[in-house]
């Protein structure tokens, strides 16, 4: 089954949970920028947790279904329609052969990325154990006009509509608190430097992307010198030479040479990936035990590692 792509969208790529086992050779983790929205799509469709979806940034799509398909869109609300009829986010829908899925651009402050998923997942040639596209690494490509986007050939039976309760739906317009697990060079920062980090509201910089988010605020002075390069993780908070934080995301390089004050809890990074430039960001500390507990519950709920 498939879609014919008339307008591909501003930036649309196929993503899954990402690459594991190749960081030693320099391949980044890659994978969906918003794990929460992505896992809800597969959950609602009854898919395997690693089935591939399309991550659409900002919007502007026109895709014609060439078969009947069950689909769901979670994440940023871009005013999606099927043949001009609005469809609800966070809720399964049927698209019939010949019908066209459209959207304009993301509503103001309503998130940056929509996750479009179909029953059984999108199909593409996996590379190094994943379908995730990483443009920085030149692995895979953006979805282009006139291409045929293949999906699973699972036959659609008449299905009931599934949706998630409102209280699970995130509000991407709110300022964001990022919970920081102290780590790496945390002990090398002075109390005063840590206070500067924790006691201010940063603004999210417009130069953020899938590699990382830059924040702007009062500078942390006299940051420890650039250090010997070492492995960095999803959510590592680097403090650059000019005293501003960079939060590393899914397409980050595997190693880096800036000092790091700790790592943001992964579930908060899904929220960060949906925030528009100019959003207020604040840090607060979180213990490792709390973070592990919450991530374990998330993994258990969505059946990850099954």
């Amino acid at each position: 089954m498939s879609f014919r792509i008339i307008k591909p969208g501003f930036l649309a790529t196929i993503q899954d949970t990402g690459r594991a086992g190749y960081a030693e050779q320099g391949l980044s983790q890659s994978g969906v920028a918003d794990e929460q929205a992505y896992h809800w799509t597969n959950y609602l469709l009854g898919n395997h947790f690693n089935d591939a979806a399309v991550e659409l940034t900002i919007g502007n799509v026109e895709w014609q279904a060439l078969d009947d398909m069950e689909m769901v869109i979670c994440g940023a609300d871009m005013g999606f329609t099927i043949d001009e009829n609005p469809i609800a986010m966070w809720q399964t829908a049927l698209i019939k052969e010949g019908e066209v899925l459209r959207c304009q651009t993301s509503k103001k402050n309503a998130g940056l990325r929509a996750i479009i998923a179909v029953k059984g997942g999108f199909q593409s040639q996996p590379a190094f154990g994943s379908r995730s596209v990483n443009l920085r690494e030149q692995i895979g490509q953006v979805i282009k006009a006139d291409e045929t986007l293949l999906t699973s050939s699972l036959v659609i039976q008449k299905t009931i509509t599934r949706q998630i309760p409102d209280y699970f739906k995130p509000d991407y317009t709110q300022p964001l608190v990022l919970r920081l697990i102290p780590g790496y060079q945390y002990d090398d920062f002075t109390e005063q430097q840590i206070e500067i980090l924790l006691n201010q509201h940063y603004l999210l910089n417009a130069t953020s992307d899938r590699t990382g988010c830059r924040l702007h605020g009062q500078a942390i002075h006299n940051v420890p010198e650039k250090m010997i390069s070492e492995g960095v993780t999803y959510g590592s908070v680097e403090i650059t030479t000019d005293g501003q934080p960079i939060i590393l995301l899914k397409d980050r390089p595997t190693i880096g040479g800036y000092p790091k004050i700790g790592t943001v809890m992964s579930l908060d990074l899904s929220q960060l990936a949906q925030r528009q430039a100019g959003t207020q960001i604040k840090f607060e500390l979180m213990t490792l035990e709390q973070a592990q507990q919450q991530r374990r519950e998330f993994n258990l709920f969505f059946g990850l590692y099954n």
């Binding site: 086992g21 030693e24 391949l27 190094f128 697990i181 780590g183 790496y184 010997i228 592990q292 993994n299």
Partner: protein
């Protein structure tokens, strides 16, 4: 030296030294292999580089405390280090020429070197892989002869062509894919080191050895190089 720090909710970083040295890289290489062998079922990814080993682990298999205990035990009980077999030497042909060495003329001027001396100094030693990262199959090789050391470009180039061979500080490297970067470019290899050939994923591993071989334009072109 052994120091383990939190690197995230499911990641730790193990420090085995605090300065760049061949001996530390040997330890890093050995313990990376040992950890993969002994803890392979809990490790998601492992990133050795220079003085540390970062690893991410499965929260459904192990917790932070017992992982740290197991790693400490493994490392402390293996002080009788067996030298890893690093006999494999990767040879990379390089054309040193101003047409492909974007910074070659400036660099020779800055270092008061002539081209022959540069080629001799850059190709006469085996380099150790200290780290792999920045982009896939980008290997940090060191260390270069003292006379070759140089600072990075003040303004990084937006686009460095694939195959470019550069020097920064006391390290040298090949850019497997075109990318931005601040290394001073002195030549180019005709080999395709990109992941367009998936086998290239295993070209470089920390602890491995690399040597450059100078070639002329005819061989560069014959090997598929493009000017």
């Amino acid at each position: 030296m052994l120091d383990i720090k939190v690197a995230g909710e499911n990641a730790i970083i193990i420090y085995l030294g605090n300065q760049i040295a061949e001996k530390v890289v040997e330890d890093i290489t050995f313990f990376t292999a040992l950890l993969k062998q002994e803890l392979g079922n809990v490790i998601i990814d492992i990133v050795p580089s220079y003085t540390s080993i970062m690893l991410s682990y499965r929260l459904d298999k192990i917790d932070h405390k017992s992982l740290c205990e197991q790693i400490t035990m493994l490392i402390e009980n293996n002080t009788l280090m067996i030298k890893m077999n690093q006999d494999v030497l990767l040879e990379i042909p390089v054309l040193y020429d101003a047409d492909v060495g974007l910074d070659l003329a400036d660099y020779l001027h800055e270092k008061s070197l002539n081209l022959d001396t540069l080629i001799k100094l850059h190709t006469e030693r085996d380099y150790l892989v200290y780290g792999v990262g920045f982009s896939p199959a980008f290997a940090y090789l060191g260390t270069v002869e003292l006379r070759l050391e140089t600072a990075r470009l003040e303004t990084p180039r937006v686009k460095i062509p694939a195959g470019s061979v550069g020097i920064a500080d006391n390290q040298t490297a090949v850019y497997p894919i075109s990318s931005s970067g601040g290394w001073k470019i002195i030549g180019r290899t005709p080999l395709d080191l990109s992941l367009a050939n998936p086998d290239n994923i295993n070209l470089f591993k920390v602890g491995g050895k690399v040597r450059f071989r100078p070639i002329q334009l005819a061989e560069f072109l014959a090997l598929g190089g493009e000017i």
